[in-house]
């Protein structure tokens, strides 16, 4: 009798568990469906339908259109070139940073990461201040050579776009390859050296296969970022060169042509999905090969003994190279902060930008008060963070519910379904996402009256994959046996989640939260697309006013964003590892 009673309670609990999980799945799926998959379907619907004339002819026109073809080629070409140059500079820099030990190395690595975590709009302003026609480099060059032509011309040139992309993404390569260099199995190197292999052979046969996965994964990542570049290309290269993102934006917002925009968005989506899938494959491989390995690279310190002058020269070369890379990546950020204190007009104080900002006078180019922008940015980021965390927790909860099933370690159907469903948002560029949301909701009164809801939704969809990954990383460290014990002792699924898992993934949640907060703070593409004039955040304020006569105000805003973002990432750094965003 006792047994049957136990059995009954067990069955009842199993039912409750199933019910909660089903509830979570339904909630998640309905969110994803209404705010991501339906908009996506809407894009396809628009892409393959036309009110005017024959669809086949129209699609052929879009594909053969000269401007579209050029842009497609440009998008590919600049992404390839940017990735390649990032590799050329980033690989040796990563090696030197792994190999050499010196004071302030950690600081240098952290400084090198900063451009990457900053909002694109801030990076863009730093880039303008440093390399623009009236930027520092060109002004110094002009005064040195007495010539009137600038050294670097970044407007309307391919070089300008590539330089900006290299500057923005070089830290991805450096950060990923440092552990790759560190984790090489040097015993094998030693063995082959004693067996008489020369340096080239060792590199080809032993070192290259071990770092290749990391290098490819990092390159794919850089490729994706540069392929989806929007703000930088819109400001620097338009109308000479355009990425597909810029084309999509312009064909919806400037000359409403939904068929063309949707069709381009579909092309963008397909290409992105291919790259992301390849990336995930390589990333998994490189994670597997890095797992459980200790760093066994023998680090060297810089030695300057009098006898070996060739070593001295080599060391000086390395130091010089690292200083150059450091200057290249850090100067523009520093320039934003310094430039925000330099008055444009005689008589303005050094704090003019900040005074104007905090005095909250309306800025005429923006038609908005600066503090409203700051407020909008902060509360949008706060709400996005909360929603993102909620969704990510639900995803983690569903993914990890398998421990309750009797056949313990088999991947459940729900898990595989969900893990596929959240890959697609990763492969969707912010402009494609915004296009879908716009096409789906533009005629609703909610879109007219409260466009910020859709801004938040797009921020959430952009940041959910990162937050989920941070939380999962923490979750994977939980001892599975602990959960099984709890479950044998009769704890329900929700109770286990509340009492064991939640406290143990607490850090991961904070990291994920900070992550989505930082992403939302600086998000530009989707916000600019959806809410151009109705609702402005700091990013849009900077973009709109960066070309006015007083650079001090936009740069003061940019400095504020730098400050908050660095604060977020410093906190993340203290709590755990910085996951690179995809």
């Amino acid at each position: 009798m006792l047994v049957s009673q136990r059995k009954k309670t067990f069955e009842r609990k199993a039912l409750v568990n199933k019910f909660t999980i089903a509830l979570a799945i339904i909630f998640l799926l309905s969110f994803l469906a209404s705010f991501f998959y339906l908009p996506l379907i809407r894009i396809f619907q628009y892409g393959f339908s036309s009110e005017t004339g024959n669809l086949a002819i129209i699609l052929r026109e879009i594909i053969t259109d000269k401007v579209n073809l050029y842009s497609l080629a440009f998008t590919f070409g600049q992404a390839l070139a940017s990735t390649f140059i990032c590799l050329i500079i980033g690989l040796p820099a990563g090696y030197f940073l792994a190999k050499y030990e010196f004071k302030g190395k950690k600081l240098l690595i952290n400084l090198l990461t900063i451009p990457f975590v900053l909002p694109p709009i801030v990076v863009l302003s730093g880039f303008l201040v440093t390399y623009g026609n009236s930027g520092w480099i060109n002004v110094i060059w002009k005064s040195l050579t007495n010539s009137s032509s600038p050294l670097i011309s970044i407007f309307g040139t391919i070089e300008g776009v590539i330089l900006a992309h290299v500057f923005y993404n070089i830290s991805v390569i450096i950060r990923i390859t440092i552990p790759a260099w560190q984790n090489i199995d040097y015993d094998q190197v030693e063995v082959s050296r004693t067996l008489g292999a020369n340096k080239r052979r060792i590199f080809r046969k032993i070192i290259r296969p071990q770092i290749m996965n990391h290098v490819i994964a990092a390159s794919l990542l850089v490729f994706v970022y540069t392929f989806n570049s929007f703000a930088i290309v819109l400001k620097l290269a338009n109308p000479y060169y355009q990425t597909i993102e810029v084309l999509i934006y312009k064909s919806i917002r400037v000359s409403p042509d939904f068929t063309e925009a949707s069709f381009l968005a579909i092309i963008q989506l397909i290409l992105n999905s291919i790259i992301i899938i390849i990336y995930i494959l390589f990333d998994r491989k490189s994670r597997q090969s890095a797992e459980g390995k200790e760093s066994n690279l023998k680090t060297t310190i810089f030695q300057f003994s009098k006898q070996k002058w060739n070593i001295i020269i080599r060391n000086l070369g390395v130091i010089f190279f690292l200083i150059l890379v450091g200057l290249f990546t850090f100067l523009p950020i520093l320039a934003v902060i310094i430039r925000s204190f330099i008055p444009d007009k005689v008589g303005n104080s050094a704090f003019y930008g900040y005074q104007e900002f905090f005095s909250n006078k309306e800025i005429s180019v923006l038609n908005a008060n600066p503090l409203t922008l700051l407020g909008n940015t902060l509360w949008i980021a706060a709400i996005s963070t909360v929603v993102t965390l909620l969704l990510s927790l639900i995803i983690v909860f569903i993914l990890r519910s398998r421990y309750q099933s009797i056949k313990r370690y088999k991947t459940s159907k729900a898990e595989s379904l969900i893990s596929y469903l959240i890959i697609l948002p990763m492969a969707t560029s912010s402009i494609t996402l915004a296009t879908g949301v716009y096409l789906q909701f533009r005629n609703t009164s909610l879109f007219d009256n409260a466009v910020w809801i859709f801004v938040i939704i797009s921020h959430v969809i952009i940041s959910v994959p990162f937050a989920t990954r941070s939380i999962l990383a923490a979750y994977n460290r939980i001892d599975v046996e602990l959960l099984n014990v709890a479950s044998t002792l009769g704890a329900s699924r929700t109770r286990i989640f509340r009492k064991i898992e939640l406290p143990m993934i607490y850090k991961g949640i904070i990291v994920g939260g900070l992550f989505s907060f930082a992403i939302s703070l600086g998000e530009f593409g989707a916000t600019y697309f959806l809410a151009r004039e109705d609702f402005k955040t700091l990013s849009i304020g900077i973009y709109d006013s960066i070309s006015t006569q007083t650079m001090q105000i936009p740069l003061a805003m940019a400095s504020l964003l730098i400050f908050v973002t660095i604060l977020c990432f410093y906190a993340i750094h203290r709590l755990g590892e910085i996951e690179l965003k995809v």
């Binding site: 002004v139 005429s364 109705d534 070309s547």
Partner: protein
Amino acid sequence: MFPSQAGVQASEINAESNSLVIYTYETLLNDPGYDFVSAYASYSGISEEEINVVYMEDANAILSKAILEKDNPSADVLIGLDNVMIHNAKAEEILESYNSPSLENISSTLISNLDSEKYLLPYDYGIIALWYDLNRINSTTNPEIQYLELEDILTYDLDKKLIVEDPTLSSPGLGFLLWTIAIYGDPQIDFEGVLGEDWRDWWKEAKEDLRIASSWSDAFSIYYTHQENRPIMVSYGTSPAYDVCHPDYGVGEGNPPPSAAVVSHENPTALPYIRQNAWLQIEGIGLVSGAPHSAEAKKFIDWFLNKELQDNIPLNNWMYPANIEAEIPSCFAANSIDPSLFLNESLNFVLNDILTPNLIKNNLDDWLNDWEAELVSFSPFVIVFLSLITTTVVFVSMKKRK
């Protein structure tokens, strides 16, 4: 505090308490600023809160928003569409023809040049001109500037000093593109133009040296920054007046003007006098088709074309008022190119006469597309080829290691 603020902001639009919704561009009458909302409120007795003005980035944004909403419009009045956008606006049927009683004081040539069917009614106008800084460019440094022809821009390397706006994004930029088309002509559609050549050739030669800004204010900030070394920009014939008559930024009437404006002086038929050729921009106000508050909107349009408002156009919107009774301040008149000289005098030539509305309607999309394609200066095949090689290399190296 902030969410509630945004709530208020957002619900203002479309709220039923509105009795008038107006779409316009951000800079309408705003420099130094004439508060037309409160002026209309006190004229009409409607409270200011009931008049909802939605400011957009530029006139293009007004047009796209109105087109997107055409089945269920929330705006009553559109201010700022011009004599080029009118074609698109009419094709999309977003406007309703309105024969305002105020039109009796508006010059009839202006009405017929904008839209004789009165879907869009002119409220101000001006000519597109090259505006230059006299401290950096003048008849001493560049004697050709006085009787400039578009060809001189190439011959004397003025394109290295010139800023134009992107015609796909900005209306003065579009005006300048049409200016070049009207001067050089387009052999592809058998349009002679003034010179009977091809406008694409001009752009082909100039594109490397020009600086193309995305908006007028972008262009202005480049013009203003001396290190950029670009003292000429595409702007309006009234721009020099801004530098003299503006209460804050102007040097004041009677002082030597810091800047000047010029149009082009092509003269193929060897007339005995020097002819000026200019493209005219006419900005209009229109009643939205199916406007929620149609009667109120008509009242507003009547008022907008009246002398009370039109008097404020020169020194706040920096254009010539369409109303013939409106006062034009002497400082403004002395320092700008008067567009009515082009409309009413045979000495000067308004390019709109040859580049007719019909031509624009049929070819504008192609022209803009060609213009964009003209700017690209690399071969896509090189890149396609490069991409193919890279992909192959990546795949081969992937396979090898398996």
